[in-house]
C-alpha cells in the first residue's frame, strides 16, 4: 500500500432498515477526484438515490462528508458538509458546518458516512473510533438538542463525544430543519434535519483520538503560526466581533434585507448588530477545531435582574428588561445571517427577542435563514390580508413583533396551528395558500435566499442564480468556495487561494496545481448540476424571484434579461450547454465524470 495522507480510505455505510453497517474503501483515485464535501455527496446521491425519489422516503441517502483537510492542525480545518436530496427544493441538498464534529469523525478514522433506509423506531449511531453501533434513541425523541447531547454524554460516559443531531423540527419533518453539531454549529440549509427525522435517526455521536496523517506537518504548523501571528492584520474584526460587525454599513448602503426584502435600510440595525451583541449580551468568544481566530459569539441573558451575575471576567450578565426569557449560553450566539433574518428582515429591533429566536432555532433544529424568511413571507401575507386571523388562530403576524416570532418558532418545529403551513417552507406554503402570495416569495429553486440582497451585492448574483442548492450565498461559481468546501476549510480564514492549495497539498501530498483545484471545484458544480437536471430542474429554475426585478430605494432591480445573460455566460464559462446548462461531453470527459451520466440524465 502506498502512503496515504489526509484521508483514511474508509467510508462508513449505515443501512437503518436492516440495521447493518459496513466499510467501503473507495480507493485513492476516488479521493483525488472528489476530495470530500460537496463532490463526495454528489457522488453518492447520483449513484444511490433513485431518480425522483421522495426526499423524505427511505430511498433518500444522507451523507456526512468532511474534506481531505478536515481535522488537520490548521485554523479553519473544522468544516464538514452534510447532504441528501433536499426535502425543501427537491434537488441537490447540502449544507456546511463548523465546530468539532467533522474533525472528530476524521480523527475516528472515517472519511464520510452514508446513511440509507429508515429505522422502524428512533435510533442513534455511536461511532467510537473504528467501532460502530446502532443504539435505541426512543428516550431522546422529542427532546431539544441540549438535552440530547447531555443524555448521550451521560449514557456513554464521556463528555468529549461530539454529537450531530436533527432536533425536534427534524423529527417533525419541517422542510428546513437543520443538522446541529456541538449545539451551536449547524448544517443549516436545505432541510437535512428532516431527512434525518424521516430516517428516525436522532443523532450521530462520535469519538476519535487519532491524528489525521498528513504529508507535511511542518508546513501546516507554519501556516497555523502565520494565522496567529498576523491576527491583527488579517482577522482582527472577526476575532473581536465575529460576523455582523458591518451591518450598519450594509444598511447605510441600502442593502440590508428589511420587511421581507422590500426595503434596503433598517433603522434599528444598530440595536441588533454584532456591536450591540458584544456590548450588551456577549459573555465569551469561542473557536472551532484548531482555530485561533475564535469568531464564535456566546451570549447570555437572564430572565430576572436578580439572577444576572457577572461573567468570569467580571462583566455584568444581561437580563431581559421585560422579564420574558432566559437565553442559554450553551447554544452559542447569532451569526450575521441570524441577526438579519430574525431581526432586520422582520423589522425586529428587540435584541433579546432576536437572541431568544436564535437560541430556539438551535435548540429545536430550525435553519434561521429559511425560518426568518418564511415568517417574513407570512407577515407580508398578513399585512396584505392574504393570511387572516382565521388562518393564524388569532395570532397577528405583524412585522416588528419579536414576541410573535419567538412564539411561532415552537409552533413551526412542532407543526402546531399556523406552524404546520409554515413548516413546509414559504414556496410550498404559497402554492397552498394562493391569493397572490407567490408575489412575496424570496425563494430560488424553493429555498429562501440568504441575507444578502443581489440588487445591492453584485457578487451574490451568480451564487443565487446558480447555486445547486437554491437561495444560497456560499455556492458561487469561483474556485475559492469550491476548493474550501472540498478541502474542509472555513471560508472566513484569510488564506489566499495559493495558501489554501498549500494546505491541501501539505495535508495530502498530492502536489495539486491551480488547474487541478479549479477542476475539483468545477467537478462538484457539474455533478450537482447533473443531479438537479435528473430531478427535473431546468434553466427556468435558474432565476431570481420576481421581487428582485423591482427596484430598491437605492438599487436597481435585476431584469429577467440581465439574469438570462448572466446564466448563459456562466453555462459557457463552465463548459455547459449554453441553452440547457447540461455539462458538455467534452467537459464531462475533462473532469473525468462521464460515468455519472448514462444512468442519471
Amino acid at each position: 500500500m502506498t502512503e496515504r495522507y489526509g484521508y483514511w480510505n474508509k467510508v462508513l455505510h449505515v443501512d437503518l432498515t436492516t440495521r447493518t453497517t459496513w466499510v467501503e474503501e473507495p480507493g485513492d483515485r476516488f479521493f483525488r477526484l472528489h476530495a470530500g464535501g460537496r463532490n463526495l455527496i454528489a457522488h453518492y446521491l447520483l449513484k444511490l438515490v433513485p431518480p425522483r425519489a421522495d426526499a423524505l422516503s427511505p430511498e433518500n441517502v444522507l451523507v456526512f462528508a468532511p474534506g481531505v483537510a478536515t481535522g488537520v492542525p490548521v485554523p479553519g480545518a473544522g468544516r464538514h458538509s452534510v447532504g441528501a436530496k433536499s426535502p425543501l427544493t427537491g434537488g441537490f441538498g447540502e449544507a456546511e458546518a463548523g465546530g468539532f464534529w467533522g474533525a472528530e469523525l476524521k480523527r475516528a478514522g472515517w472519511d464520510g458516512i452514508v446513511v440509507r433506509g429508515a429505522a422502524a423506531s428512533p435510533v442513534y449511531v455511536w461511532i467510537n473510533e473504528g467501532d460502530v453501533e446502532i443504539r435505541d434513541a426512543s428516550h431522546l425523541w422529542g427532546k431539544v438538542t441540549g438535552d440530547v447531547e447531555e443524555a448521550i454524554h451521560a449514557e456513554l460516559g464521556d463528555a468529549r463525544i461530539r454529537v450531530a443531531q436533527c432536533g425536534i423540527a427534524g423529527e417533525n419533518l419541517v422542510r428546513y430543519a437543520l443538522v446541529a453539531n456541538d449545539l451551536n454549529e449547524v448544517a443549516g440549509r436545505t432541510g437535512l434535519g428532516a431527512v434525518m427525522g424521516s430516517k428516525k435517526l436522532k443523532a450521530i455521536a462520535v469519538r476519535g483520538t487519532s491524528n489525521v496523517p498528513v504529508a507535511d506537518r511542518a508546513k501546516l504548523i507554519e501556516i497555523a503560526k502565520w494565522v496567529s501571528s498576523t491576527m491583527d492584520q488579517n482577522h482582527r474584526g472577526f476575532h473581536e466581533y465575529g460576523t455582523g460587525a458591518a451591518m450598519q454599513g450594509k444598511s447605510l448602503e441600502g442593502g440590508m434585507p428589511t420587511l421581507n426584502y422590500r426595503l434596503g435600510k433598517f433603522d434599528g440595525t444598530a440595536k441588533v448588530d454584532a456591536i450591540a451583541v458584544a456590548e450588551q449580551v456577549r459573555v465569551d468568544m469561542t473557536a472551532c477545531y484548531a482555530c485561533s481566530v475564535r469568531c464564535k459569539k456566546v451570549v447570555q441573558v437572564e430572565m430576572r435582574k436578580e439572577d444576572a451575575g457577572v461573567t468570569k471576567k467580571g462583566k455584568p450578565i444581561a437580563y431581559d428588561p421585560e422579564g420574558r426569557w432566559r437565553v442559554d449560553p450553551k447554544y452559542g450566539g447569532p451569526e450575521y445571517e441570524s441577526l438579519a433574518s430574525l431581526g432586520c428582515n422582520l423589522g425586529v429591533d428587540d435584541l433579546v427577542a432576536v437572541l431568544k429566536s436564535n437560541e430556539l432555532c438551535n435548540a429545536l433544529g430550525l435553519d434561521t435563514i429559511s425560518t426568518g424568511a418564511t415568517i417574513a413571507w407570512a407577515m407580508e401575507c398578513y399585512e396584505k390580508g392574504v393570511l387572516t386571523d382565521a388562518d393564524t388562530g388569532g395570532i397577528p403576524l405583524r412585522f416588528s413583533d419579536g414576541n410573535t416570532v419567538v412564539r411561532l418558532l415552537e409552533m413551526i418545529a412542532r407543526r402546531e396551528g399556523i406552524g404546520d403551513l409554515l413548516a413546509e417552507g414559504s414556496q410550498r406554503a404559497a402554492r397552498r395558500l394562493g391569493g397572490g402570495s407567490e408575489e412575496f416569495l424570496t425563494t430560488i429553486k424553493g429555498m429562501e435566499m440568504a441575507m444578502h440582497d443581489p440588487r445591492h451585492m453584485e457578487q451574490m448574483r451568480l451564487s443565487y442564480l446558480l447555486a445547486p442548492t437554491g437561495g444560497d450565498h456560499l455556492r458561487q461559481s469561483g474556485e475559492k468556495n469550491g476548493l474550501r468546501n472540498q478541502a474542509g476549510i472555513c471560508i472566513f480564514l484569510a488564506y489566499s487561494d495559493p495558501q489554501t492549495m498549500e494546505i491541501l497539498n501539505a495535508a495530502t501530498g498530492w502536489g495539486l496545481t491551480a488547474a487541478d483545484v479549479s477542476d475539483m471545484a468545477r467537478r462538484g458544480l457539474a455533478l450537482t448540476r447533473l443531479f438537479n437536471l435528473r430531478e427535473g430542474f431546468t434553466r427556468y429554475d435558474d432565476r431570481l424571484p420576481d421581487r428582485f426585478s423591482e427596484d430598491l430605494p437605492m438599487h436597481k432591480g435585476i431584469t429577467p434579461e440581465q439574469q438570462e445573460a448572466l446564466v448563459t455566460q456562466y453555462y459557457r464559462d463552465h463548459g455547459w450547454d449554453p441553452e440547457t446548462g447540461m455539462p458538455l461531453p467534452t467537459t464531462l470527459a475533462h473532469l473525468d465524470i462521464e460515468e455519472y451520466v448514462p444512468t442519471t440524465v
Binding site: 458591518a246 454599513g249 448602503e253 456560499l474
Partner: protein, 97 residues
C-alpha cells in the same frame, strides 16, 4: 485654501476657526488599522475643509481600501467634506456569515 485641505495632525498649529474635530469609528475588518489596545472610536482634529479622504489618510488607511462611509448616520463617500463635530463611521464591505 488648498493648504487647509491637506491632511492635518493634532499638532496644535491651527488658530481659532481653522480646525474641526470629528469622531470616527472603525468597524469590522477596518479595525486592523487601530493600534492594538486602542478603542475603536476616537476623536481626530483636521483642517477646515477636510474630506473623508483626508480623515482616512490621517488614520493610516491606504487609499485603495474598500469601505462604506457614514457621516452622522447618513451614507457619504470619501469626497464628503466634514464639519465640526461630525460622527464618522467607516465599515468594511461584508459577505457571508
Amino acid at each position: 485654501m488648498d493648504t487647509n485641505r491637506t491632511t492635518a495632525t493634532n499638532d496644535g498649529t491651527w488658530g481659532p476657526g481653522q480646525s474641526l474635530d470629528v469622531r470616527v469609528t472603525l468597524y469590522a475588518d477596518l479595525r486592523k488599522y487601530i493600534p492594538p489596545g486602542q478603542p475603536g472610536s476616537r476623536r481626530c482634529r483636521l483642517a477646515v475643509g477636510a474630506t473623508v479622504a483626508d480623515l482616512v489618510a490621517n488614520l493610516g488607511i491606504p487609499p485603495g481600501e474598500l469601505m462604506t462611509v457614514g457621516v452622522n448616520g447618513e451614507l457619504a463617500d470619501t469626497d464628503t467634506v466634514l464639519g465640526d463635530g461630525d460622527d464618522v463611521a467607516l465599515f468594511s464591505p461584508m459577505e457571508g456569515g
